[in-house]
Amino acid sequence: MQPAPPRSLGLLFLGFLSIGARAFGGVLPWAHRVMVEERRWLAPADFAEVVTLCQFLPGPNVGNASIVLGKKWFGLKGSIVAFLGFFGLPFLWVLALASLYEGFASQPGVKPVVTGVAAAGAGLFIGTAIKLARPIARKPAALVVIAGCFSAVGVGRVSMLIVIPVAAAISYLLAKRGLL
């Protein structure tokens, strides 16, 4: 069966709702499952193309995908509907969870557990960075940029308002010379 776009705004809304609501432990795999496997809105190659664009753009990746795909299929209306479908439930849940947590936060034994989860979450960031670094780790210039950004932002705590423009300019020049 050929992939086909959602037939109505309602189906678009429900599709993105089911991505947001089920996305435990990372959104991208669920976006793939819903749009490519379950609802067959997109062929795998089209999905990969949208993801590349949305990772390139600033902002939440799948949030951007809701805007881009909504526009492609239904124009501005589609973007708004897909965006609301995607964020609606997770936003309510996370606030409900946080309010619930406030009541428990002062109980003994809660803080160590939450701190442990945060440390593991920090580890997931580090793991993600390692995975992303693998394909570029053989290029000395890439390692210099990584080390530079880490020393400035992570250790030196310099504002990203300064670091991003400087690093972007340097990276761009390096990439243009074929060093990245």
Binding site: F24, I67, Y101, T115, A118, A120, L124, A129, V145, K176
Partner: protein, 173 residues
């Protein structure tokens, strides 16, 4: 009102700086709301981070939890809208242009230039979150290292690493 306005403006700026997604701006968010402004403590910050990671949904909701901690439900709405808005407008606008840039050298160069920056920024996020008040705590680093290893070496759903972190936290911390 001025607090909400400042939150809105600041998170809009973060939205445009979030190359590679939300994790890239975690260190900057921490620098501003904890270190520079003192709106919340480091502990509040990592609590909201942990809740946002454990709940289903996009990780940009960590921003709205931090907004909630600072200014209640209005704060949560303002930070989410600000964190997504500018990036969403940009996506809407770029969506058509991107296809036309396919195969052009500029697009390939820009993508290659971005990759190492994103790695450095996400690494910074992990480091800042695991290092409370800039004082190293080997127990937190141990948990972070184990979870990073599991992510790189296995195909487990990340929720297992968070659950492992909860158990390790209860024992070690």
């Amino acid at each position: 009102m001025s607090l909400l306005l400042e939150l809105g403006l600041y998170f809009s700026l973060l939205s445009l700086l979030s190359v590679g997604g939300m994790p890239s701006v975690i260190p900057e968010m921490h620098r501003y709301v904890v270190e520079s402004r003192g709106w919340i403590s480091h502990n509040d910050f990592i609590e909201m981070f942990a809740l946002g990671q454990a709940a289903p949904g996009p990780n940009v909701l960590i921003a709205s939890l931090i907004g909630w901690k600072i200014a209640g439900v209005p704060g949560a709405l303002v930070t989410l809208a600000a964190m997504c808005g500018p990036a969403a407008v940009l996506s809407f606008w770029v969506a058509g242009i991107w296809d036309r840039l396919q195969g052009t050298p500029w697009r390939a160069v820009a993508q290659r230039a971005m990759a190492p920056m994103v790695v450095g920024l996400i690494l910074s996020g992990g480091f800042v979150l695991a290092t409370p008040g800039s004082t190293p705590d080997w127990r937190m680093w141990l948990i972070a290292a184990a979870s990073a290893w599991a992510m790189v070496a296995t195909k487990l759903n990340p929720l297992w690493m968070l659950a492992g972190g909860a158990v390790a936290g209860a024992i070690l911390l």
